[in-house]
Symmetry: C2
Subunit: 359 residues, 2 copies
């Protein structure tokens, strides 16, 4: 995982350019796979690729001082920026047609490698809807899934609470910068999620809540997850956008039915008519997802590739400085990671301060 | 339509033989298409076909006195026995793998030629379920469908009431003899249905309610109908049997969802999981059935063949006695029918008392 500030600085500079969103960034990276080379590219090439204004901005020198807020934030031990080229970037998001280029994360990045499952629904949920969200989330979390939601009031909040009660973990994907918690009343919940799982955002630090950002947030909720359960949703609500994106992304969509006279069931009924699975219990979801198989695959993947760092080591002995360069890590954090691998028998320390991968 | 008691007597005699059900009757009719010839067949052939006991019973002479109850019942102007070989036998039932051989009907036989739609559900329905049954039935009846149900308490009763309110018609398929109304509290409803539509039963007059008869009744409810709507059903309930038969018969199955915490929604949710259409309104059903097309086809069929009697007349002039024989009708009822056709320009009376079909 890239955590060296020097390696992340060009990414912060790229992100800070007005009018440069993930699509433009993807175009630039397609032409210049090393992010640093974007800033060294000939002006004429850049102009042709992204227009005069952005090309002019890319010609400016990168100054760490300009990105002091982000660098300070990233200096926290549980604060991370996972960029598109990072080996730690979540594979399920990489497959999306419009993947985020920047993924801020507060908490444990390994949470994103667990089998994730999203529960979303109305902010104005009924008491029964909130109880259902809590109960489904807890049962699914106890069964081995980690619950993803959007930290909103109503169903999202209850789903996060249930997930935390089930396995102490959870992922909140938010539509603001990670230094802002929205809604404010969920600050405590956000801290518990960061402590036991991860808060995730595509948006730069300091980004306030904006209506247009929530649909973009929703594609990450569904994109990270094996499936999405919708509990209480009005027609034309954000939860239906998440469900539509989930279906487009090939994820399973589940919905809880209700009375035909309840406005908050109409969205779920619409989804079921369009092919979503009607569910009455968490067991329905576990059966459909074939969870034992999912958990076995996750364990096998983890065993096969416990850390991208081991790939970067290659088959020959390697020094600490060289490996820090390859991994984009500080020597300190690299030493800590190598110590763990040594203790667990995956790495041996050779004379001369060289490290040898053992399998 | 066969309404001559002499023509129906062999059918009554067949029905009265203990152990002779519709399947055995079908086997006999396959070998002897004219029901009267069954009673004249050589004993050895009959023994090989249906065993010693039934063969012995078939050897007994047919006595009208034995069937006095049925013949008296059939003498009522609105009482009918529609047998398997009758041109008036409903085509949709003919296509079933296990069609009834005898169909008692009280009311107007033409009701069965309308576009029919079944609504079934729990006897122990909730007030909301009963209101839904009433409202869906009324809207569907107003749109041109005639509602079929089972005359039971709960959803059935409300569906019949709604159907009558919508278009004054309806069909109740019951599991007892038509001279017995079950449950007794629905006697008034049964009379209104017979007056504006039809009561139908496969079972001989005098048959009391028996648990084993209700699933057989259910296959006729679904078999007569374009589709079946289930409103509130417990798991393993009779309504689910009707729905399963409907699906096997290629009929559309619809179900109304409800709270996952309501026992009476579990049956409907099970059906939706198995492929039934979730419906929130009568409009959902009308859209799925493509009702304008259904109504146009029904009108076209009615116009193309207003009466099987016209087919029986053939293209040449025919006398009253000969036609009465062909149609299995009394000369009196045949005269009344021919008079209507004459008034409406479909039949001309020729010199010598001969009748000529005009198209």
């Amino acid at each position: 995982m890239i955590s060296d500030p020097a390696a992340l600085l060009p990414w912060l500079a790229l992100e800070a350019i007005p009018g440069l969103g993930p699509e433009t960034a993807r175009r630039l990276l397609a032409a210049y796979p090393d992010v640093r080379s974007i800033f060294a590219a000939p002006a004429s090439q850049l102009k042709a690729l992204v227009g005069d204004k952005i090309a002019a901005a890319l010609a400016q020198p990168i100054a760490a001082a300009t990105h002091r807020v982000a660098l300070d934030w990233l200096a926290q031990p549980d604060a991370h920026l996972i960029v598109w080229t990072d080996p730690a970037y979540p594979e399920p998001l990489r497959a999306l047609p419009d993947p985020p280029m920047w993924l801020y994360l507060k908490g444990d990045p390994a949470t994103l490698a667990r089998p994730l499952f999203a529960i979303v629904g109305s902010r104005n949920a009924t008491p029964q809807g909130r109880r259902d969200a809590q109960a489904f989330a807890q049962t699914l979390a106890e069964a081995g899934l980690t619950i993803v939601s959007g930290l909103a009031e109503g169903i999202d909040t209850s789903a996060h609470e249930g997930g935390l009660a089930g396995n102490g973990a959870g992922v909140a994907v938010v539509g603001t910068g990670l230094d802002r918690v929205y809604p404010a009343k969920n600050r405590g919940l956000a801290h518990r999620l960061a402590a036991g799982g991860a808060l995730v955002s595509e948006f730069a630090l300091g980004t306030p809540p904006k209506p247009g950002h929530f649909p973009r947030r929703n594609r990450i909720i569904s994109g990270l997850s094996l499936g999405v359960l919708v509990i209480e949703a009005a027609p034309q609500s954000g939860s239906l956008i998440t469900a539509r994106m989930a279906a487009e992304q090939g994820r399973e969509v589940f919905a809880i039915p209700g009375s035909i006279h309840s406005a908050l069931s109409k969205g779920c009924h619409q989804l079921i008519k369009q092919g979503a699975k009607l569910v009455e219990s968490a067991a329905d979801i576990l059966e459909e997802l074939n969870l034992p198989w999912v958990l076995e695959m996750a364990a096998r993947n983890a065993a096969a590739r416990p850390d991208p760092l081991l790939d970067l080591m290659g088959a020959s002995p390697v020094g600490l400085d060289e490996l820090a360069l390859r991994a984009g890590l500080t020597v300190d954090s690299l030493s800590a990671m190598l110590f763990t691998h040594e203790m667990e028998g995956r790495v041996a320390v050779l004379p001369g301060g060289l490290y040898q991968r053992l399998f």
